[in-house]
Symmetry: none
């Protein structure tokens, strides 16, 4: 009643996710900024690949934070409130595609945000990062 069990990604897990995402982005030929946050939305790991947009550091991180806060992939907020929500959160809540919650065994353990490609490319790279961790966990 007073305490609840949670799980957090370790930094080794974060590195596995980063490397899976990087491998995918390299295969696609699309350099990316990749951010991983813990369940509190704090930055756990980040990489900016050669040639990725440096401003995407900010948006990739916000995608991860938004996916974590809302416990859902980014991009699903209704069009009539997306800018209001962005403004009301000082730009932190973004409706750009490319943020995904990271679920392991049905439990939310963090989130990943990817930015510098198209929305579809960003999502594909984020998925590859999560898949790399799931593969390690068997």
């Amino acid at each position: 009643m007073y305490l609840r069990q949670t799980q957090e990604l370790t930094h080794q897990a974060a590195l596995v996710i980063l490397q899976g995402a990087i491998a995918k982005a390299e295969a696609m030929g699309v350099p990316q900024c990749i951010a991983i946050v813990d369940t509190g939305g704090n930055l756990l790991a980040f990489i900016r690949m050669d040639g990725a947009k440096f401003l995407s550091q900010i948006s990739a991180t916000q995608k991860a934070i938004t996916a974590m806060s809302s416990k859902a992939p980014t991009g699903g907020v209704a069009a009539d409130v997306e800018l209001k929500l962005a403004l009301a959160t000082a730009g932190q809540l973004t409706n750009l595609k490319g943020g995904l919650p990271i679920e392991i065994n049905g439990q939310l353990v963090g989130a990943i945000g990817v930015g510098s490609g198209t929305g579809a490319q960003d999502v594909e790279v984020a998925q590859a990062g999560i898949a790399a961790l799931q593969e390690k966990l068997g």
Copy 2:
């Protein structure tokens, strides 16, 4: 694999670009704010011409930063994501026209942003700045 070669503008090059842009703006009779950034988006040189809007200092600088980050002229972002991107980057990514990457011999060496006129006037002045450097380089 671990290092990549890059090039940066010197401050003498930045002065040449500023002067080329100023000369064009004076000929057009449109005072401008002109900002030049290095490949990391850090301010290298700036001038606010007599009569230019002082708030354009901020937007001209953001145009240069955006052109550098995206390695493309500003203004080409799709209408359905331009505000989301601006908000997700704390206003840093702008879709206003007037920012141009500076390429020398096919390599990106910085960017210029111009603001205080119309979008078309801003672009014209930015182009004149880059042309002045290219003329010096022969």
Copy 3:
């Protein structure tokens, strides 16, 4: 009684000051960030020389703003209030040496701030910038 005459530096004057300061810094072998502001403290011109510290962009600009606001060279605030004043102005008022008001014929027309060297070097370069303009004015 209701209006007072002021004078402002033109952008051509700002370029003369920049070039005088750059020439001095080059002769000293100390790369500098040099900022010039108008009487309202708004940025008029800026250059970051090759090899100058990029964080000095911020401090050089604050030195110029502080010199303009206080109508005096920076660095003269008493030690027991300097940090209180910096904190009370969100860091804008700095007591670092290197900011000088620009006076022409006894009238204040702007200010210059220089940073990336020692305090004494910064002051020397700022003085050279002002001297270059005074020489043009004869």
Copy 4:
């Protein structure tokens, strides 16, 4: 005269540095936040190890940015100006130990900042990160 040659770390180099620093911190039993920036001070890679202080994300990043801007290890600023410089750069210039420039073959290619341990521990981990890259380069 108008262009100067520079070098940047690739993301593969940044991963090598991160892993070298993590291995050292694990061996010491001191979890750390580790940030790597490019020559423009933009974040290239980051990891927060299990148990590291989350506020150290900010200070580790500022140590890297400061080391890059000043082209020297952090912590060497004279006591009488360290707070003035911190305030005049909006907190960006820090005099905490734990930031080191990354030099390869005598050229500055980026910087690393480490935070969450003592200053001496932070420096030791930063050095291990740089050493890991130098070993790969032979």
